[in-house]
Assembly symmetry: C2
Homo-oligomer: 382 residues x 2
């Protein structure tokens, strides 16, 4: 095992940043290909930028965000957060007391760690289900959480979605939807309704996931809950700052469904190419992925964990070819699945035959590196 | 009482944002005068802006921030946070367990609410002192907090500062310094040393306070603590995002001591003018202020709280003259003191004789409004 805890994950992330910096400085931004699907963007006019002051900025941009946000998400009111994780923390701080329960339903475990961690902070109980038939709401529940689309882009069934909202509302329990990428995946690719329109009380999406906004969380929902959550967010510094709010407005204005729809077609072509050499890859809604476990089973026997093998593969792809995938740059506890998202701007600059060759070469290198723990450590941390 | 809780404070802030928006849209930015001393700024070149993507931005700007941040703050390492409050939360989440104690020393109570609130979240005990002779560190203490400069700009004595750090270190307890505005006030105006140089383990400053940076928290200190705090910050979404990090770098590069030093001279002239009509004002390091209590004692008898009177005065100044002071726009629990900071860019655009007349007119209006509760509510909330 080489990546053992959150601190190791941070060190790994810092090393990736160093590599990214070197590539930008020595070869230029064009030699990097961000296939995370979290590429985000920061779109701003000179006039926008002139207004970015502490109290003037939010006055202007929060108002614009109300309009664009409701257009994208539905609901009565919008609240911009620093990150989706900080929005989940603010919600649980507002609605869950010590000893109360949060029940979470998602298409496939594991859950995003911010939900159980936030429950732990308030001393609440946390239960999670990925089998609809087993889903159950205990009596002392104060919040039901539904994940629209998991970290690996597994999307919830819309009928189950509606049924769980009904079950919660019969008990007068509010529903929070973590629709990080789901707010776009579910609606554009799977033709599902907006979570607010399905009856959810509080919905949060990540403005950098599958849309050209900044890293940040956009919350929509019922005013009475959002007002409460805003108080906690402001008390603890969890809200989005003016530059992010401005970029959220412009990200929403510039979101186009086309890239998502095009990637949906292109992924099949890419999987066929990969199948000539590998059987470990599978489709996601907007690309292909390989789970850490399947990747680890495909390489030589070694002393590393499945996650370690995924981190090494992700770092080789970054170092050798400038391909950014999530495990190289993720926050602690994120999924180690290596996902090649074909909906990003950078993905459209890559020929799929070239990308296939990059993956073949990186895998060959990985297959040697895993035999040598020192070498593996060096690749992840230095 | 018209402003009774955090939710009322949020509504008051939303109303102020509406007024600011109207002034910017109808009269232009030049008709607003931000005298909060929290004006901040967002300085960025086109080249900077092109790099503002989720994983590319932090790779570039976090590295630059290490250099500029250590130059400004000292210490071994820098960690950028979404706000000073979120940095305090991350620190207490990292270092304080349930049942342990946090002891806080500051020049004058009340403390910034983020410190006791963060203690409450982890189930820790919180004790605070503003009399040095009474300061005491109980046995189960896991963190000592020192405030460099209070919300009303009361600055700690440097000998007491050193002594408290020594007392904590004798017991092997780390010291967090909340140097929100103090990192500049203490060093530039009072010739004190940087908190890290005085031996503090963790120091945080607000990059929008008395410097041209964005709203955000810049943490400096010992690597072993900052690495731990970074883990918590990333887990809960408390870290600064790339646009803010970029603006922190440029804010630090553009920080000049001159405005602070000039305001230090100008404030005496201003207080003399105010004394012709009022005896409620007093000096701050970079301007003048009136406490809510003294303001309330100066107006006609009424049914409002001291804080209400301060909020109304601040709203009148904003509506009638475009003068932004903290009580109009502050987050819940901030100080209700009305402070006119003469070190802001906007302050240098105002003639002090004109500003004196604005205050005379606003006070006359306030003196009538306080007699009418409905009218008072309307001014604060609509």
């Amino acid at each position: 095992m080489i990546v053992n805890n959150s601190l190791d994950e941070i060190k790994k992330r810092e090393n990736s940043f160093k590599i990214i910096r070197n590539i930008v400085e020595n070869k230029g931004r064009d030699s990097l290909f961000d296939l995370t699907g979290l590429s985000g963007d920061f779109i701003a006019s000179d006039n926008d930028l002139n207004l970015l002051e502490t109290y003037v900025g939010p006055a202007i941009f929060e108002e614009q965000l109300q309009k664009e946000g409701i257009n994208h998400m539905g609901g009565e009111k919008i609240l911009p957060l620093n990150r989706t994780s900080s929005g989940i923390l603010a919600t649980i701080l507002s609605l869950v007391n010590e000893g109360e329960t949060v029940v979470h339903y998602l298409a496939k475990l594991p859950a995003h760690p911010s939900i159980p961690r936030s429950c732990e902070i308030v001393g609440g109980n946390y239960e999670e289900y990925d089998v609809f038939e087993k889903f159950y709401i205990p009596d002392n529940t104060s919040l039901v959480v539904i994940t629209g689309s998991t970290m690996d882009h597994q999307v919830i069934d819309e009928d189950e979605f509606k049924e769980i909202i009904n079950m919660a509302h019969e008990k007068n329990i509010p529903v929070l939807v973590d629709d990080a990428s789901g707010a776009r995946l579910r609606t554009v690719i799977f033709n599902q309704q907006k979570a607010c329109d399905l009856g959810a009380d509080i919905v949060i999406t990540s403005t950098d996931k599958l849309m050209p906004g900044p890293r940040g969380g956009l919350m929509a929902g019922k005013e009475k809950y959002l007002d409460q959550i805003k108080v906690k967010a402001n008390q603890f510094g969890l809200e989005a700052q003016p530059p992010s709010i401005l970029a959220m407005v412009n990200g929403l204005k510039n979101f186009k469904q086309d890239n998502l729809l095009k990637s949906y077609e292109r992924k099949h072509e890419f999987l066929e190419l990969l199948k000539n050499n590998f059987d470990m890859f599978e489709l996601t809604p907007t690309g292909v992925m390989v789970e850490a476990k399947k990747l680890a089973l495909s390489v030589n026997d070694n002393d590393l964990s499945d996650n370690d093998v995924a981190f090494i593969f992700s770092m080789i792809l970054l170092k050798d070819a400038g391909i950014i995938t999530i495990p190289a740059v993720s926050m602690p506890g994120a999924s180690p699945t290596i996902r090649f998202d074909l909906s990003t701007n950078d993905a459209f600059k890559l020929d799929l035959i070239d990308l296939n060759q990059i993956i073949i070469d990186a895998f060959e290198k990985l297959n040697n590196v895993v035999l040598d723990v020192d070498k593996s450590c060096e690749i992840v941390f230095n």
